[in-house]
C-alpha cells in the first residue's frame, strides 16, 4: 500500500478513538472536538510518511500537540470561562454521583485534577486510552523506561490524592469528626465528601 492508502486506512480505523481522546481533554466542549480532530489528521497527513505500523499511539501524540496548542490558544478568556464553571460539563458535573449509579464519581476527577498536567496525561493514557507502557512512550515521545517511571509516579500521586480525599463524617450525635474510608470498590463516597 502507498503512504496515502495507509493513511486513509488509519484515518478510518482510528477516527473515533482520536475523537474520544480529544473529547476527554476538551472537558466537555463537544462542539470543538471535530475541529481539533480535523487538525490532528491534517498534521498526520503531512507527516504520513512517519506513520508507524501501529499508528494509534502516534496519532495520540499528534493530537496531544494539537491540543496543547489549542488549549494555550483559547487564551485566558477561555480558561477563565472554564474556571467560572459556566459550562458544567467542563468539570465533569454531568456525571451523576450516587451510590446507585454505575457511572463514575466526580471525586475521582477532582483527585485527578489535583495532579500536574504531566501526571494527569500519563494516567489518562493508561486508564482511558488503555495504552501499555510502550504505547505511552510513543505518545509522549519518550523512552519506555521513562514512561514506566512517569506512570508509576503518577499512580502513586493519584493514590495519595485519593487517600487525602477520604471522607470525613460528622456523626449526628455531634462531637468529634471521624474519618471513614471511601468505598473504593464502587468508587463511591459513602458519606459527605470533603475535598
Amino acid at each position: 500500500m502507498s503512504n496515502d492508502e495507509i493513511f486513509a486506512a488509519a484515518y478510518r480505523e482510528h477516527y473515533w478513538a482520536v475523537s474520544r481522546y480529544v473529547a476527554r481533554r476538551l472537558d466537555g466542549r463537544t462542539s470543538e472536538v471535530e475541529e481539533v480532530v480535523a487538525e490532528v489528521f491534517t498534521v498526520a497527513w503531512r507527516r504520513r510518511s512517519d506513520l508507524p505500523a501501529s499508528p494509534l499511539p502516534w496519532l495520540y501524540g499528534v493530537a496531544r500537540n494539537c491540543l496543547s496548542n489549542a488549549v494555550r490558544g483559547y487564551g485566558r478568556r477561555r480558561r477563565l470561562m472554564d474556571r467560572l464553571g459556566n459550562d458544567e460539563t467542563a468539570h465533569g458535573r454531568q456525571i451523576v454521583d450516587s451510590p446507585d449509579s454505575e457511572r463514575p464519581a466526580e471525586w475521582v476527577h477532582d483527585a485527578l485534577a489535583r495532579l500536574s498536567p504531566a501526571d494527569q496525561e500519563v494516567l489518562r493514557l493508561a486508564a482511558w486510552e488503555e495504552l501499555g507502557v510502550d504505547e505511552i512512550a510513543v505518545t509522549l515521545g519518550c523512552g519506555s523506561r521513562a514512561a514506566a517511571m512517569r506512570l508509576h509516579r503518577a499512580r502513586r500521586r493519584l493514590r495519595a490524592e485519593i487517600d487525602r480525599m477520604r471522607i470525613v463524617v460528622t456523626p449526628h450525635t455531634g462531637a468529634t469528626e471521624t474519618e471513614t474510608e471511601t468505598d473504593l470498590d464502587t468508587g463511591t463516597p459513602k458519606e459527605q465528601f470533603h475535598g
Partner: protein, 329 residues
C-alpha cells in the same frame, strides 16, 4: 479494593460506547475531510503555506467566540463604546537605545543580591485577548485576574472586566450568550478553592538558578526536549500566571531569556499600564512576540503577541495585537 487506575477507568468521561464518539461509520464531515486530504486539498498545508502554530491556535479560538451582538457594539455611540478592534502594538521610542538582555541580567542579579522582593504564590495580571470569528470582526476582551494563596493551601481567584487604559468606561465581557458590555470593574468571578497541593511545576515553587529553572519550565510545559525560544516565552507566561517571582527567580528567568536565540532588543516602550520597559522581539512565522522587561530589575512586565500577516477570513490584519499580558507585582 479497586486500584487507582481502575477507579480512573470507571471515571472515563467519554467511554468507547459513547453515542457521540462510539465506533461506527465515519460521519459526512469526516468523510469529506478525508477526501479533501486524499485529493491534496490540505487546507492548512497547501493553501496557507505560511501558517504557523500560533495561527492555528488563533484559528481554533475563532470557532468559539463572538455573537451577533458585536455588530451592534461596533455601531454604538463612539463616546461610550469600548474599543472593539484589535489594538495596535506598543510603540518603541525612536530615541531610545536598545539594552542587551545580558545587561538586564546583570541588573537582575544585582537586585537579587540585594535581597529585595521575595517569591509569592499567586498572580496579578491584566490581559487583553482577542476573540475571532469567521463572520464577525475580532473583539478584544480586557480582564484583570488576581490569585491569592492562603497558608492552608487554599486560594481565591478574582476576575474582573476592566481596561485600565480607559478607567470608568464600559468594557466588553464574554458571557454564555456572547460578548456584551459591562461596567468597568464588573466581577466576572470570585471563587475560593479548597486546599490543593502539587509537587509538580508550575504549582511547585520555581527554582532560582537558570539551569534548574529551565528544567522546571520544561516539565511545566511537558516538553520532550529543552524549550526553544517560542516554548520559553509560552512557559514564561504560564509561570507568571501562577507565581509572582522574587528577585532571585527574576534573575534566573532573565538569564534563560538572555540565552534564548532570536530575542532582539529593540528599545524602550511604555507598556499598557504606563510602566517604562525594555522591549525584546521574537519574530515567529506569521506572528511576533514582544517581551517587555523592567529595565531596573530585569523582571518580566509583559508579553505582547502580534499578528504578522493578514488573516482576512477572521478580520485580522498584520499588526493587530492578539494577546497581551501585563503582570503586576
Amino acid at each position: 479494593m479497586a486500584d487507582e487506575l481502575e477507579l480512573l477507568r470507571r471515571a472515563d468521561p467519554v467511554p468507547g460506547n459513547d453515542p457521540r464518539f462510539g465506533e461506527g461509520p465515519l460521519g459526512h464531515e469526516a468523510e469529506k475531510r478525508l477526501n479533501h486530504l486524499m485529493a491534496g486539498m490540505d487546507e492548512v498545508g497547501e493553501r496557507r503555506p505560511g501558517r504557523t502554530r500560533t495561527r492555528l491556535v488563533w484559528a481554533l479560538a475563532a470557532g468559539v467566540a463572538v455573537a451577533l451582538t458585536v455588530a451592534a457594539l461596533l455601531v454604538a455611540d463612539p463616546g461610550t463604546a469600548p474599543a472593539v478592534a484589535a489594538p495596535r502594538p506598543l510603540v518603541v521610542r525612536a530615541d531610545s537605545t536598545p539594552v542587551p538582555l545580558d545587561a538586564l541580567v546583570e541588573r537582575a542579579e544585582r537586585d537579587a543580591a540585594g535581597g529585595s522582593a521575595g517569591l509569592r504564590k499567586g498572580t496579578h495580571v491584566q490581559s487583553w485577548s482577542v476573540g475571532m470569528s469567521e463572520d464577525e470582526p475580532p473583539i478584544t476582551l480586557p480582564v484583570e485576574r488576581v490569585v491569592r494563596w492562603n497558608a492552608d493551601d487554599s486560594h481565591m481567584e478574582l476576575v474582573v472586566a476592566t481596561d485600565p487604559r480607559h478607567p470608568g468606561r464600559r468594557v466588553l465581557s464574554d458571557a454564555d450568550d456572547g460578548p456584551r458590555l459591562v461596567d468597568d470593574g464588573h466581577v466576572i468571578s470570585e471563587r475560593t478553592f479548597p486546599p490543593s497541593w502539587s509537587d509538580a511545576p508550575p504549582q511547585s515553587p520555581p527554582p532560582h538558578d537558570a539551569t534548574r529553572l529551565r528544567a522546571y519550565l520544561r516539565e511545566a510545559q511537558h516538553l520532550d526536549g529543552p524549550p526553544g525560544t517560542r516554548e520559553l516565552l509560552d512557559a514564561t507566561a504560564v509561570l507568571l500566571d501562577t507565581w509572582t517571582l522574587g528577585a532571585r527567580e527574576n534573575a534566573a528567568l532573565a538569564r534563560l531569556l538572555a540565552d534564548a536565540k532570536g530575542l532582539r532588543p529593540v528599545g524602550q516602550v511604555t507598556d499598557r499600564l504606563g510602566r517604562l520597559g525594555q522591549a525584546y522581539v521574537y519574530a515567529g512565522a506569521g506572528y511576533r512576540r514582544m517581551l517587555i522587561m523592567d529595565p531596573a530589575t530585569g523582571a518580566v512586565l509583559g508579553l505582547e503577541d502580534t499578528a504578522a500577516v493578514d488573516e482576512p477570513e477572521y478580520g485580522v490584519e498584520a499588526g493587530d495585537v492578539m494577546d497581551y499580558s501585563a503582570w503586576i507585582r
